[in-house]
């Protein structure tokens, strides 16, 4: 049985879940919340070894954690851009321009 536990500060639960989702074709993963963090038990379903899968899960979870951090830092811009892109062009006159 292969396992790894992620401390909250290292990778939040949503990041671990995303990583597990991504590896679903290679192994089954049970996820549990424990006091020391998010614990994952892995059972390989293909010929990728358990050790490789643990390493892969670690790296993938860390990357998803990074993505969450980036999303946090850029969410204001993202919302603003979408709002601007969907907004009607009220700052300008109509596209044909009246004389």
């Amino acid at each position: 049985m292969f396992e790894i536990t992620f401390a909250q500060e290292v990778a939040r639960l949503s990041a671990v879940k995303k990583a597990a989702y991504r590896l679903a074709a290679l192994c089954d993963i049970d996820i549990q919340a424990t006091p020391s963090g998010t614990r994952c038990e892995l059972r390989p379903t293909t010929d990728t070894s358990g050790a490789e899968l643990v390493a892969l899960l670690r790296a993938t979870a860390l990357d998803y954690e990074l993505r969450e951090e980036i999303a946090e830092k850029t969410s204001a811009f993202r919302d603003g851009l979408l709002a601007l892109a969907f907004a009607p062009l009220t700052r300008r006159a109509s596209e044909d321009g009246e004389v």
């Binding site: 995303k18 989702y21 991504r22 590896l23 679903a24 074709a25 990357d63 998803y64 990074l66 993505r67 980036i70 999303a71 830092k73 850029t74 969410s75 811009f77 993202r78 603003g80 851009l81 979408l82 601007l84 892109a85 969907f86």
Partner: protein, 486 residues
Amino acid sequence: MAKFKLPGEFFAKELHGYEFLPFKFHRLKTGRVFVSNIVGEWLVLDKQTFELFISSSLKPAAAAYADLRARHFLLDRDSGVAVDLLTVKLRQRLQHLRSVFGLAIFVVTLRCEHSCPYCQVSRQSDDRASFDMSTIHADAALKLLFDSPAQDIKIEFQGGEPLLNFELIQHIVLKAKRLSEVNGKAVSFVITSNLATLTDDVIAFCAANNILLSTSLDGPPELHNKNRPRRGGNSHQLAADGIARIQSLLGPDRVAALMTTTKASLSRAVDIIDEYRRRNLHEIFLRPLSPYGFAVKTNWFKAYDQMEWLQFYREGLRYIIDLNKCGERVIEVYASTILGKMLTSRPGGYVDMMNPAGIGSRVIVFNYDGYIYASDEARMLSEMGDKTFRLGNLSADSLADLVLTDPLLDAIEETVLESVPMCSDCAFQPYCGADPVYHHATQGDAVGHKAFSGFCNRQMGIFEELVELMDTDPEAARILSSWVRQ
């Protein structure tokens, strides 16, 4: 003469560092990191530069800084125009949402004299009544199209073998042209055909009405004929002759060919491409096998998985690039479609790769029996017994009925990549598409679990291949850039 200021005075005097603009990343097998943003701008960074960038430590003097800034990954005090540019480009990308029915497929007959094992739909039959589209349905379909908001309509004739119902094609073309003059919409035509029944009359009609032809060419004779049997075993000969005739009578750019990949094709990438060159065809679409229709029934689809196909694709693509390096202009169409999305800000229109999905909006299919489908794959799925993506019927339904059906709207809405697991974080999202019909067919659910998705594996493989080529081979990068020309 006033004093001239030095370069340094134009770079924000106190460096306040930079802010991040929204972006996504993907680690390539080479260890380098691919970054992209919501408008499809991208860069490849070495690992260390990426680490510096994300820890807000990248210095302006770093080689990548200028590119990251110009492509809207970071924002500093020097310039604020990135936001204006992002907004404009985002609007452009979203523009395709407003264009409807760019592609209208008319299945004018189901009859065909070939019996290709991978075919989804055709019938060996002379029963015109049962398997030909009626004039009434054709007229109703045209009315629907020309009453719709569509501005630029491409009508594609499919089958079976469409030329077996050539009279109806003529009727539709002439009527569509009259309607387009009256109501100002642009219309163009393509006939997909195996060319086995191509006559001088057909060629003359195509010449007179500016119709393009698209045919199947699976490779050299023995491969093509094995994939595409017909009585006489001469499918390849007829296709090759037809191609040559069209090129000489209508022009070299008036006929295109598509290949379909089968297990037998997988080891023959170079041979297939050489066959295209032999036929004076300079564009090749290295297509995957789709999981619909007879293909599944006859087990051809399970015969190989996406990894094998990707190997085949890579081999074909690299061979094509080598040909280009020797001065011969050959284009791989799957790559050029993706490259159009990676290297330009044009909204992509290839139905299978649109986000939100283009089914039932960008494309609509009028089947021989009057039923209307959200896409060609939706029609094929229906032939397998699954009518989920059947929108309605020409006799019964109005345009609004058709496009506002829940199954269609749900399929489009639920599969939007921004809100779907794995896709929502994927750095290739700007270049990819939702394929609800594929995922419904293979996993029973329009969204699909992407870790198990042949579509996703295939797309990722191609994205990585293209990015790695562009990142490591400058000559290949130039060649690939040239493929985005319209």
